[in-house]
Symmetry: C2
Subunit: 450 residues, 2 copies
């Protein structure tokens, strides 16, 4: 191991770090999972050439590599362990081009999502993918996980905002996938294949992303209270089914709301669920009026505002969810997605599963997408067996309802054991064979996803 | 060959046709290209099981297979020749489900695009991908080519409207790729990989597609005349760059307009270009006002209407383009796409190339996408060498401007010889290796694309 390290430093020079802080940081992400041992070294890449040299070295020596951005993942996809090189692209953080004319930006992978938006704002533009982590997560990580977030029902997931990527393969070769144009059908869509591939196929070293004009008009915000989470879920499903397309539609279940009320010192009636709806663009006011009608017809008690301060107050409750959870104990954030019509059934199932296994689950949902985040709260650092048993039942329920194991966080390490349940063994094998084309030695994110 | 055929008929029964009409039809598509010889047989698949049995037979006997829908392709992708089985999915034309609640439809591959829209209309829904061939092309073919069309700048290409696909692999195994949910990140995006793969990876036997509420509000239509095609192209580029997002923006160059005027008996001043803009949704009227301001500031002479009859008259000119071309001779329809800011340069280059090679080119562009269709007109059935020379120069110009060889028609047979220019030999090899994973014997659409 020491000789491998010496050779790595010889090859790459002072971008190789073995500082305890760097090595320890690379053992974890935001999932709560920590690897069994520290990795071999962290390579702080500053250029495409650094990445290519690292991958050539890895291929020559058969050393596994874990690509890592800001380490904000929630599925363990960027966690590294014994004998692995961590290839950090966080230092490749330059915005190379912003084109208002072509509504695109060219960025290095380590650019923080929010930093791109700050740079775009003077041109009246924005980059739509908005994972709740936008202040801390990188565009490279957003692409690697096909990140979702709060705005997907109207503005799409990351995949819809990527035109092309430059990728370094396991053997160090540089490839350009995709187009600078908004359309293009030359050969297989390998840019699309890279999106959501969680570091298993190559290292994203540059991306050409779609940007768009900031929404016009005055946004409308609705905060609605429901006595039953099923009714709140039904209202969310009906809003979409009647053709309203909110920019944001978030649902907090009674357990989530009680925690938030505690945390913020609010007076909320027990058992209440909260539905937060924001419409934007030229149809904002019509959309809000229609959504209000749906909400009230289903028993919701709603307020409606176009005042930014009042809107911020309503959003403040949603934003307090994660701090409120963390104040209560250790949190395992889960992520399933169901067809929107199955939202009420999924919420009911979560309540039943929590009761059956005696576990504490508070759920927030990106209700416009049918994407639920059940948060399991427990004490101590180890995930109790009952939590895994409940999670297992929850995943299988999502699949039974026509849904998926993960709407936006990815598979990484944490969902690997359930992947076969969704894909089946034959598709899993096909996916492994495709990985084999890109990375025949299996060096990239070994042991993740597949 | 005869024994192969006998065995095929033994295996598959009366869905195997060797009628001259069937065999001759399968030699051509709408590209004008015709294969050298008739294929072995046409299998009229009626079910997934038929497709699986055909592919198992093909794998056992090493017989190449060309999947074919309505045969409306423009790149020769569904053309079959000597020794090949044509697997027709046009008879698999049932709409299996329409869900208003989940905004999706489940369809067999042979469903005609317009038929799906007719079925959706009573629910106030539509399927957005609108290739100009929607009345005659199938959803399966739309997916296989990632079809574009008139509405892409605002509503996306086919890729953005597909959630999942069922696919029969070369060896007859049935796979399900993608999700019924709007989000989902379990493993590699193989549904995405199938979209635009032109029949080279598998046979699409079912698709779950996104549908959406019909646009609200009253559409606004603008017809604008420009004395210079460069100014018309600039107006189109500026409309997008200022954040207006028309549903449709079509540009007809002077040669196209002159042909249309002849064909329809209209009085159009020589040298005039025509820009057709339609805005829809709640922002339709604001968008149209802003577009008008851009057009007039760039020298356009514009009329603006919300009257459906007047709008139909303006669209009638665009719709007359292809009949007008066909009235003039044999037509080779080309398809390049450039960044929108390069539209003026690309139009200028086309004019120069037409002059240099002495060929007749009339161009229509989906200007909101930067997607141009230069139509080469000539007499007789064989494409003259000068036309290929001009096309060659035109493709390389599009690439030089940051564009692509094909925005929406695909590679098929006709663009195969230029694919390496865009992708490079290493990526081409990578793409071939991925095909090898799906189809190790190279049976599916042999000799196409790669």
């Amino acid at each position: 191991m020491t000789s491998t390290l010496a050779k790595l430093s010889d090859t790459l020079g002072d971008i190789v770090s073995v500082s305890t802080a760097d090595l320890e940081a690379a053992r974890a992400d935001k999932s709560g999972h920590v690897s069994d041992a520290a990795p071999l070294a962290v390579v702080h890449a500053r250029s495409i050439d650094d990445v290519q040299r690292t991958m050539r070295y890895a291929t020559e020596t058969g050393t596994p590599v874990v690509t890592r951005g800001a380490g904000t993942g929630l599925a363990g996809g960027a966690i590294a362990g014994a004998g692995e090189i961590v290839l950090s692209t966080i230092g490749m953080n330059r915005i190379l081009e912003i084109s208002r004319d072509d509504e695109l930006a060219v960025v290095q992978p380590g650019v923080i999502n929010a930093d791109l938006n700050t740079a775009l704002e003077p041109s009246g533009l924005w980059f739509a993918p908005d994972p709740a982590s936008r202040a801390i997560s990188t565009i490279g990580g957003n692409i690697a996980t096909n990140a979702g977030g709060l705005l997907c029902a109207k503005y799409g997931v990351t995949r819809e905002s990527v035109l092309g990527v430059k990728v370094v393969l396991a053997d160090g070769r540089l490839m350009e996938f995709g187009h600078r144009t908004v359309k293009g059908v030359t050969g297989l869509d390998l840019a699309g294949l890279m999106i959501g591939s969680e570091g298993t196929l190559g290292v994203i070293v540059e991306a050409t992303v779609k940007v768009q004009a900031l929404p016009q008009g005055i946004a409308s915000t609705i905060g609605a209270w429901f006595a039953s989470v099923e009714d709140a879920a039904r209202a969310a499903a009906v809003i979409t089914a009647t053709g309203i397309r909110p920019a944001i539609m978030e649902l907090l279940d009674p357990n989530a709301m009680a925690s938030i009320a505690d945390h913020l010192g609010l007076d909320v009636r027990p058992g209440q669920s909260f539905l937060l709806v924001q419409t934007d663009g030229h149809g904002a006011s019509v959309g809000a009026e229609n959504a209000l009608a749906v909400i009230r017809s289903l028993g919701g008690d709603a307020e409606h505002t176009t005042d930014p301060a009042e809107s911020a107050r309503l959003f403040g409750m949603r934003r307090a969810f994660h701090p409120a959870m963390e104040a209560r104990g250790t949190v395992l954030i889960e992520d399933v997605c169901v067809p929107r019509s199955a939202l009420p059934a999924m919420f009911n199932a979560i309540t039943a599963i929590a009761g059956k296994h005696g576990v504490d689950i508070a759920t927030v949902a990106h209700a416009g997408d049918g994407n639920l985040h059940p948060n399991f709260v427990f004490q101590g650092v180890d995930v109790p067996a009952a939590v895994w048993a409940a999670a297992d039942e929850l995943f299988l329920t999502a699949l039974r309802l026509g849904g998926t194991l993960t709407g936006e966080h990815g598979v990484g390490l944490l969902k690997k054991r359930w992947l076969g349940e969704e894909l089946g063994s034959e598709q899993l094998e096909l996916q492994r064979s495709i990985k084999g084309v890109f990375d025949p030695q299996g060096l990239l994110n070994r042991g993740k996803v597949f």
